[in-house]
Structures are given as structure tokens and as C-alpha cells.
Amino acid sequence: MTKNSTTGWFAVVLGAFYLFGTTLVPIFDAGDQTGPRAFPYLVSAVVILSGLGLLVKDWRSAKRVPFSWGFSTDRAIWLKILATMVAGIVYGLVLDSLGYLIATFLFMVAVSELINVGRHAQNLVIAVAFSLVTFISFALILKLSLPRGLLGGILPF
């Protein structure tokens, strides 16, 4: 697979998937004659045709450089990316129940440990400082609502 053929196949599959989704969109009597499906049909046509175009271009091309995602060669990087994503999603899930201060502190510790490897003390300082400074400036000074969570009853402000 080259970069172009990967992209081409990706576009064709994505476009087909979207096209299938479009056929599932309900149509009501009310609304306009054009309806909710017309525009998505156009979009899937553009994506599928462009994908096919890339595939044709790739088959005709003389010099074909193989492309790899590097899942095995750059394994450490992909794992880091995955870990960051998981940290972000978990951060969102616990934000309301733990409260902004605790959740943000935990998230910052997690991502700092991933990036700033081994310097635990520094990471703790960054995490505490970041969560406190942002909470004070947004929740207390600008009065935007941030979840208070577990600390809700204890916070003096």
C-alpha cells in the first residue's frame, strides 16, 4: 500500500459507509422538497469519486513508495498517543463527580508523567499549580461555572 492507495481506499469505504447512513435518514412530509438526504448524497459522491480517482492515479503511477502507519516501528509513540486519549476521556468522565480541582490535578499528573518522564516532584507542582490557577481565575474571578464535586462542601469560597 502507498499513501495514495491507503487514502483512496479509506475515502471509498468512508463514503460508502456514509452513503449507507444516508439511506437510513427518515423523510417527513413536512420540510422542503430537497429533503435531508440530498446534500449527504452529494457529499458521499464527491468522497467516493475522489477516492477512486486517487486509486486510479496510484495504479498508473510509476514510482510507488510503500506507506506504513508504523504501529510496530513507532510502537512507543502510538502507545503514548493512546494513553493521552484515554487520560482525556477519563478526565471528562470523572469531571462532574470528582470536581474540577481534583479531576484536573489527576489529569495533569497523568499527562505530565507521560511526557516529562521521571520528574515526579516537578510534575506534582505543575499539576497543583495548573488546577489551582485555572480554578481561581475562571471559577472565582470570571465566575464561569466549574463543577465543585467532592470538595463542594469543603471549599471555603
Partner: protein, 329 residues
């Protein structure tokens, strides 16, 4: 100690018989923490304005002794904010602004939430709906307009926003039917940015009429750019004494675009009592009345029980109009 218990259990027994909780305890409840009024939309819109007006009136009249925060939770045509309120079951410190969308979202299948999921505290204010055309257009009354529509529906394009199925849309459908035209043949042009797009489109001649709330058109009418064919209020509005109501034009149609306030589900009778009384005091206060005046809103105060009856009726009416045009199957 024993005596106290006996009194208490006696009270509870009485309460159970009467199917209400102990009135002696009911006196006691007051908000324990900062109060949160949820505006289920971004800043600047109707819900935000009413939440902030309540915040102002409750604070300035010292009706509560805890601070009040307005929280903007936009999304799902109100559903995001209301779901958040639903999650605060039994907590008396949370209120949310609402509007007919709480009925329409459910009718249109966009949301499972209904007004029955909450403690409906009070209906607060109403705006009125109008149909407006360009000041130099040939139609002067509702009748003339809808006659033209009957003749050639494809030449009449009606601007509505931000989406079909709202009060503006329902007003127009009901009127079309009442004037004897076919609601299904109406060509609606949807403007997601509402008045900001609808009014230029009307002035530029791209569409022939808009169905919209009165406040959005008031200044345009005063400036002589638009003409209002009719208004959905029971009597003529004081700012536009020359504009006839739909009722005067022979259509039995009074249609408020209201906004109210509700509290979390599962409140104790004590909590319910606190809020019904507090809101009752608020709507009678000077701060509240002055704010309504500056915002150009009509007082439409309906306390809790009557509010629920009102919602039952509105629900039926809207179901009919939306079923007529096929938005509900």
C-alpha cells in the same frame, strides 16, 4: 425524648393519611447552598435573559439568602440543561428556565424529557407571535395574505427559524388551516440564525413573509420597514395599537410564546412550598415588574398547579398542528 418521637410519628401518620408531608417540617426548608439557575442555552438568548432577570430580582429583593449563579448549559434545544436538572433530583437549589420547546422536543421525538419529569414551578412571561411582510407589499390583512397563498402557494415563501416545529412554525400552520389554505403546501424557508437572517431576507425580497415573535419585529415596524398582518395576543398590544389581533380577524387563535421556570424532580413538599412562595413574592416585586417593562415582556404569571393544567392543554394543541403537517407520525 419519647414524647417527641410520639409527636413526630403521629404527625407522619397524619401526613400519610392526608397524602402530604408533615406541615410542621415544611416551614423549615431553605436553600442550603448557592442556588443555580440553569439557562439551557448560550448567553444572550431568551432563556439566558429570563434566568438573569430572576437572578437580579431574587437577589435585589433579598428573597433568598444564598448567592445565585446562572449556569449556561446549551444543547439539544434545552435538553442538555434540563437533563442536568433532572440529575439533581431532590435538591432544592436547582432551577431551570423553560419554554414551549419542552413540549415540542418531546412531541417531535428529539428528547424523552417531558414537563412531567420536573416540578413545574411557575409560568412567568409571554411574548406574542406575529406574521410580518415588507411595508410595501400588497397584503394588508391576514385574509388577503392567505387568499393569495391559496391561489398560488408556490409563489409564497415563509421565513422561519431556527428550525421547524417551534412556536413560530406552529403559529403559521394553525393560521393557514384557520384561513382555509393547505398547511402542507406552505413553502417554509428555514433560517438557523433566526431574525438576523430572516429580516434581511424579507427586506431583500427573497421571501414574502416571516413568522416570528413580536419583539424581533417591533423596531422594524416602527421604522416603517415591515408591516405586521396580525398578532397572536388576546388584545391589541400597547406598542402597536394599529395592529389587529388574529381574533379580530375572525380566527379564534390566542397563542403566547411563554417562558417559565421549573425545579428538579423529587422535591419534598417543604422545598416545593419554599419555591412557590418565593416565586410568588418575586413576580409581585418592583424589580421584577420593572425588568419585564424594559424587556417588553408581558406578565404571564401562572402558579404551579395551573401551570401544569396549561401545559396539558398546550401539549394537545401542538400535537394536533404538528400531526396535521406530518412532523409527527
Amino acid at each position: 425524648m419519647i414524647g417527641k418521637w410520639r409527636v413526630l410519628s403521629g404527625l407522619i401518620a397524619t401526613a400519610m393519611v392526608a397524602a402530604t408531608a408533615a406541615p410542621a417540617l415544611a416551614e423549615d426548608w431553605k436553600p442550603q447552598r448557592p442556588i443555580e439557575i440553569i439557562a439551557p442555552a448560550g448567553p444572550g438568548g431568551g432563556w439566558d435573559l429570563i434566568a438573569r432577570t430572576m437572578q437580579k430580582a431574587l437577589t435585589e429583593e433579598k428573597l433568598v439568602d444564598k448567592p445565585i449563579i446562572v449556569t449556561n448549559k446549551p444543547g439539544g434545544g434545552g435538553a442538555t440543561g434540563w437533563n442536568y436538572l433532572k440529575g439533581k433530583s431532590g435538591q432544592g437549589e436547582f432551577l431551570a428556565a423553560n419554554s414551549p420547546l419542552i413540549l415540542q422536543n418531546n412531541l417531535l421525538g428529539k428528547s424523552d424529557l417531558t414537563y412531567k419529569n420536573f416540578f413545574m414551578l411557575a409560568n412567568l412571561m409571554a411574548e406574542w407571535e406575529v406574521v410580518a411582510v415588507k411595508a410595501d407589499s400588497p397584503w394588508k390583512t391576514g385574509k388577503e395574505f392567505f387568499e393569495a397563498m391559496k391561489k398560488d402557494p408556490s409563489s409564497m415563501h415563509i421565513g422561519v427559524g431556527p428550525a421547524l416545529g417551534n412556536d413560530d412554525h406552529i403559529q403559521f400552520l394553525t393560521l393557514t388551516k384557520a384561513f382555509g389554505a393547505d398547511p402542507k403546501a406552505v413553502k417554509f424557508v428555514v433560517y438557523p440564525n433566526t431574525a438576523a437572517e430572516q429580516i434581511p431576507a424579507l427586506l431583500g425580497g427573497h421571501i414574502q413573509a416571516i413568522t416570528i415573535s413580536l419583539a424581533e419585529t417591533l423596531e422594524q415596524v416602527k421604522a416603517g420597514k415591515l408591516r405586521i398582518l396580525g398578532v397572536s395576543s388576546p388584545e391589541r398590544v400597547s406598542e402597536l395599537p394599529n395592529v389587529p389581533t388574529w381574533k379580530e380577524q375572525g380566527v379564534d387563535f390566542v397563542f403566547p410564546h411563554w417562558r417559565g421556570v421549573m425545579a428538579a424532580p423529587g422535591l419534598s413538599p417543604a422545598q416545593q412550598k419554599f419555591w412557590t412562595e418565593t416565586i410568588d413574592k418575586m413576580v409581585k416585586s418592583k424589580t421584577w415588574k420593572d425588568s419585564l417593562e424594559t424587556l417588553g415582556w408581558d406578565d404571564y404569571y401562572t402558579p404551579s398547579t395551573d401551570y401544569v393544567t396549561f401545559l396539558d392543554k398546550q401539549d394537545t394543541l401542538m400535537r394536533e398542528s404538528l400531526t396535521d403537517v406530518g412532523l409527527i407520525k
